[in-house]
């Protein structure tokens, strides 16, 4: 029952977010993808598969706190992209220094690390009472984008 | 002889009165409690026929009244209610007899005469008609000074006829009087004819001057020759 509710809820969300996103069952995912995923994230749980732009997008959680992950595989099972929720303290020192110097008045929230083709970028939100910014950094602490939220 | 009839049913009163007048009694009538009470207080009667259920009162109260004045021993209660309590109470209060409705005229005659006889008894308890004498104490029958041997039932029958001289005695009345009340199956009274025949023969042999006549096949009548 719970599963049905979750499925239908997810279906609704994916419908509104992306018309082409398609919720699929594990049994419909190619074995190569499944096995690759299982080898790379053996402790994953709450796993949901979607087929999006020929990529298999898998939502899952790990760890005791249920850290959110999203991973994208191609049909041969190669990990294309991995987005992972991390804590502020895990941010590279350079980024932390940058934030401290330039955005000291803001609160850091919703930190994510995105790995794509061995390139790593970080995504985070900066919040003050009046403002909210979405920023992306590279590992060196350079700001790649800054968007008002 | 003066008789008072206390009875609220006019028709019955009339027939009883008519029948008793035939016997040359002086008959007076009262059809409710007050009339009866008044007559009882004022006059003396040789016999009172008393109905228990009366308008305005109970016959038993009248009986109590009579007992107080010492005149209750010549009362015959006539009641539709064959109830033991009433009967016992009536007899306790000094009533002489208790007759349940309906009754035969002959039975009433016999009862009245029995009461009167007891009252006027002067040592001699006999009935005499023509040359026939019936001694009720000794239960013997004498014709022309000679004893006629009668059996118990024949004696009772003759006694009944003598009480009802010149009157109709129906077979039923006779059967009930002599053989008892519960003669349920006595649908034919041939045996009564047989008894009467025997009695007649005995009376004839003794040259009695009375005769038992058949009346329309329904009963008999005793007449003097």
């Amino acid at each position: 029952m719970k599963r049905i509710i979750v499925i239908s809820l997810l279906a609704l969300i994916s419908y509104t977010n992306d018309l082409f996103a398609q919720k699929i069952l594990k049994s419909q995912v190619p074995s190569l993808v499944v096995n690759s995923f299982q080898q790379k994230f053996p402790k994953a749980f709450d796993i949901d598969w979607e087929l999006k732009d020929k990529l298999y997008e898998v939502d899952f959680e790990t760890g005791l706190r249920g850290t959110d992950h999203v991973a994208w595989f191609d049909k041969t099972g190669k990990l294309v992209k991995h987005k992972e929720e991390i804590s502020k303290s895990n941010l590279p020192g350079k980024i932390m220094a940058k934030i401290k110097s330039e955005f000291g008045a803001y609160r850091v929230d919703d930190v994510k690390r995105i790995t794509e083709d061995s390139k790593v970028i970080y995504m985070l939100e900066l919040k003050s009472v009046t403002e909210e910014w979405k920023l992306t950094f590279d590992a060196e602490g350079n700001v790649l984008s800054k968007v008002a939220d | 002889m003066k008789i008072l009839i206390v009875e609220d049913e006019k028709d019955l009163l009339k027939t009883i009165a008519g029948s008793l007048e035939k016997e040359h009694f002086v008959v007076e009538a009262a059809s409710d409690f007050y009339a009866a009470s008044e007559k009882i207080n004022v006059y003396d009667y040789d016999c009172i026929l008393l109905d228990i259920m009366l308008p305005n009162g109970n016959g038993l109260q009248l009986l109590e009244q009579l007992k107080k004045s010492g005149k209750s021993n010549n009362v015959i209660i006539i009641s539709a209610k064959d109830s033991l309590e009433d009967k016992l109470r009536g007899l306790e209060l000094g009533a002489d007899d208790y007759l349940t409705k309906p009754f035969h005229i002959a039975e009433l005659n016999a009862r009245v005469k029995a009461v009167l006889r007891r009252k006027k008894l002067d040592g001699k308890n006999t009935i005499e008609i023509a040359n026939v004498v019936l001694d009720l104490t000794e239960r013997i029958c004498i014709v022309n000074n000679e004893k006629v041997p009668l059996n118990r039932k024949e004696f009772d029958i003759l006694n009944y006829f003598l009480f009802n001289k010149n009157r109709l005695v129906t077979k039923t009345a006779l059967a009930e009087h002599v053989w008892g009340d519960h003669i349920d199956q006595s649908d034919n009274f041939d045996f009564i004819y047989y008894q009467i025949k025997n009695l007649r023969r005995k009376l004839q042999t003794a040259k009695a001057e009375v005769e038992i006549e058949a009346v329309y096949g329904i009963g008999y009548k005793l007449v003097e020759k």
Binding site: K26, S27, Q28, V29, P30, S31, L32, V34, N35, S36, Q38, Q39, P42, K75, T76, G77 | E9, D11, L12, T15, I16, G18, S19, A80, K81, D82, S83, L84, E85, T100, K101, P102, F103, H104, I105, A106, K153, R167, L168, T170, T172, W179, G180, D181, H182, I183, D184, Q185, S186, D187, D190, F191, Y194, Q195, V215, Y216, G217, I218, G219
Partner: protein, 426 residues
């Protein structure tokens, strides 16, 4: 069918279907669970193999199931991409502990594909499955076991609990069966606090109360009606007697009058009998005393002498003991007189009547028609064995009523061409 058994029947039938349905659902659920659990195991096993393959490529050579539960074979990339994880049920020769030779056993087979160092492999993993027919057989046995255990439980519950619950009802029913309007003093009583039963008791008692009232009213009505008839009957009798006495009648008129008088006499007798019955039933005879039945018999026999002589019926009395009873003397007379008259009047020419008095019984036998009379009906009101008599048909009813009043057992039987009535005193 008793309520207990009926409820048992319904319960057992419905239980049979419920348990049957339940076991089917249970079977499929359990099979699913087993498969899920087996599949999970296979999935886990698969991960281990894929993991091992990365470290130790030797297992990639394992191309058959001998000595293990998986096979691996290299395939092309396009073949590998097409493979999705599938689990199927299949059969495979296996040797279980209880098998002497390898047998076809059901197995669960997982087929998958993985990539290892740029090569693609197809992996098949198996795990033994439960044998479904074994499972079904076992389940059937367990289900039947459960059914019979439940059935036994229901029977026990029915017998002990329900029987206890219904006990007041049955005792009430027995009381009700024995209840007689007019003679039973106490209303049936249900000994419980169960609302349904106390409601039943109340409803029944209200009904009985009404019945009793009706019965009393009816009795009273008969009594009153009979009383009210007495005076008119007296007038009619007396007027006709006076009319006939006048004598100036033609014989045909006299005959008609005689006929009317006979009819009135019958009415009088009938009325008198009804009154007597009412009085007996109302217990209006109070003059109870010790009466000698021997004396009453002798008295009645002598009263009937002339009638018997006329009908040429011989009455003999055989007394072997003195019999006394505590009862109203006139009622004792009525019983004996009615039975004796009955014996004399329904007799044949040259017939006999014998009366036997023993310590506890009075038996009156007579010759008569050579066939038994219906003993069920003989004591009922207005029953006449032959229609010719103008009797009231109440004589024996009165006998029965009096006997009932004094708890005297009265019975009729026909034996050796004799009709006999036996009174048994207690």
């Amino acid at each position: 069918m008793k309520l207990l058994n009926r409820s048992l029947l319904y319960l057992s039938v419905s239980m049979f279907f419920i348990i049957g349905l339940w076991s089917v659902v249970f079977y499929f659920n359990m099979l699913n669970k087993i498969k899920e659990s087996v599949d999970e195991g296979l999935d886990h096993y698969k991960r281990q193999i894929v993991y091992q393959a990365q470290k130790d490529s030797i297992i990639l050579e394992k191309s058959n199931f001998e000595g293990g539960f998986f096979t691996i074979g290299e395939i092309t990339a396009s073949e590998a991409i097409a493979i999705k994880d599938i689990y199927i049920d299949t059969l495979m020769y296996m040797q279980d502990a209880d098998d002497e030779i390898p047998e076809l056993e059901p197995v669960r087979l997982l087929t998958t594909a993985f990539e290892n160092n740029g090569h693609y492999y197809k992996l098949s993993v198996i795990n033994s499955m439960v044998e479904e027919d074994d499972l079904i057989e076992e389940l059937l046995r367990e289900t039947l076991g459960l059914y019979f255990v439940l059935l036994a439980a229901v029977i026990i519950i029915n017998n002990f609990v329900l029987q206890r619950l219904w006990k007041p009802f049955y005792s009430f029913l027995i009381q009700l069966k024995n209840y007689r309007v007019g003679s039973s003093r106490k209303f049936p009583e249900v000994k419980t606090k169960t609302k349904e039963f106390t409601d039943l008791q109340n409803a029944v008692n209200i009904l009985l109360q009404r019945n009793i009232e009706t019965y009393e009213q009816q009795k009273q009505f008969i009594g009153n009606a009979s009383h009210e008839l007495q005076t008119p009957l007296a007038i009619a009798t007396n007027k006709l007697e006076l009319l006939i006495e006048k004598g100036d009648l033609q014989s045909r008129q006299a005959e008609s009058i005689a006929e009317v008088m006979r009819i009135i006499e019958r009415l009088v007798r009938l009325n008198r009998s009804l009154l007597l019955l009412t009085k007996i039933e109302n217990k209006q005879f109070l003059d109870e005393q010790i009466v000698s039945l021997n004396e009453i018999v002798r008295q009645n026999v002598s009263d009937l002498e002339e009638i018997a002589e006329f009908k040429n019926v011989k009455i003999t009395v055989a007394e072997t003991a003195g019999l006394t009873a505590q009862m109203d003397v006139s009622l004792a007379g009525i019983v004996i007189s009615n039975l004796l008259r009955n014996a004399v009047f329904h007799n044949i020419y040259n017939g006999i009547v014998t009366v036997e008095i023993s310590e506890k019984t009075v038996k009156i036998s007579n010759t008569g028609i050579k066939a038994p009379i219906n003993e069920q009906k003989i004591f009922s009101r207005f029953y006449k064995a032959d229609d010719n008599t103008s009797g009231t048909g109440l004589g024996l009813t009165i006998v029965k009523a009096i006997c009932d009043l004094y708890n005297i057992a009265v019975r009729y039987y026909y034996e050796n061409d004799l009709h006999s009535f036996e009174l048994r005193f207690r």
